[in-house]
Symmetry: C2
Subunit: 229 residues, 2 copies
């Protein structure tokens, strides 16, 4: 059976960086499912799989196509119930959505504040035009203005993870003794920054940084296989 | 069997307001367990149950004594596994800790910014002395300085709940179709503000405010039975 995960890349295919795609990469490893990753530039995504989706990740699982990272995780949990669970039950499924919304609302803007101009610089020329136009409109700032705020954004970053830091007083992973999809959600955001900007945002003994290192080690270092910027 | 929940009150016993105690009140209702609530002023807590704990909630469940709201919830889940689940599995248990840390780190300071002087005013004289001294030291501000910032704190409040608001796009409760302990965690914080300050922090159509109203209705209006300040 052919299992393909379409992900996002810039000019260099070997450095996929999308937070949402990284969530699914680790979710597939978690389930022990083989897959072929096909990193795709922004402007080529709409043509994939007969225009199935404007965004990645897209999972082709044999004859089935699924889009959206959370929906893919739900699909995998339902389709492969005998593999290790991504949610640890219905309560974990519901609360993973809250972790997603925390990451999207608090962590993603913080990453963008650091990495947005670096992301632009990683793209091919066609993608750069699309990216500058769409992001400057969304942010209400030029990429150059965002770049000028980078150092302040680096300094402010770690404090935004305080609820995560406090959770790690009680357990090794957000999911408990081992990682669940909730960990991959947050991992995706930090891996996005690591691959695109490589900014040092945590002190050496920060529990969040140490948790991120544990996540980079998972599944034979799947996350670590793409080096930091 | 005698089941007693010691909670916190000011000069008026009929208006218990502690966020941590309200979490447990709803958790006991969720499990369908009868209990007697004994609201206790701050400075009388250390004498309860042979000085078992410096803080409430304290649960006496027959011969067992348990302190700390999260530990009480875990205890109830283990002790009464055949009653409705508070966590919806191990994943929900682990991620409820993240919700607790979000509430403690983001929501509690926001409530304190609105309600701290109002809480002081609800206390008996002996408690007022203790409360002013301990809180002014912890906050690095006088209660009068906190009161002066009240209106700004009211205006800033709703935005801090954005990850919750976005989660409610997908489901009726944080716990999914129905409430779980994670809902009671956040309910506790908002009920604390409702009973002590009564500030109007949500617009009429705010999904977070509507969710809070749903929580007030639970268990024959257990939360609503104490009127807003």
């Amino acid at each position: 059976m052919t299992r393909i995960l379409y992900t996002l890349c810039g000019a260099d295919e070997s450095r996929p960086f999308s937070p949402h795609c990284w969530k699914v990469v680790l979710a597939l490893h978690h389930k022990g499912l083989d897959f072929i990753e096909k990193p795709t530039p922004f402007t080529q995504i709409p043509a994939l799989e007969d225009s199935f989706s404007k965004t990645v990740p897209i999972l082709r699982d044999g004859n089935e196509l699924v889009r959206d990272s959370f929906d893919i995780a739900l699909y995998l949990e339902e389709k492969y119930p005998d593999r290790p669970t991504l949610f640890g039950g219905e309560g974990g499924k519901a609360l993973s959505r809250f972790v997603e919304r925390f990451s999207q609302n608090i962590v993603h803007p913080a990453v963008a504040g650091i990495a947005i101009a670096d992301i632009h610089d990683m793209l091919g020329e066609t993608d750069q035009v699309y990216f500058r136009s769409s992001r400057e409109k969304a942010l209400g700032k030029t990429l150059e203005e965002m770049r000028a705020g980078r150092e302040d954004a680096v300094v402010a970053f770690a404090a935004k993870l305080e609820p995560v830091r406090q959770t790690l007083r009680y357990q090794e992973f957000l999911g408990g003794d081992g990682p669940l999809y909730a960990d991959y959600i947050l991992f995706g955001a930090l891996q996005w920054m690591r691959v695109t900007a490589g900014a040092k945002v945590f002190t050496a003994d920060d529990p969040v940084g140490l948790w991120f290192e544990r996540c980079l080690d998972l599944y034979n270092g799947a996350g670590r296989s793409v080096t930091a910027a």
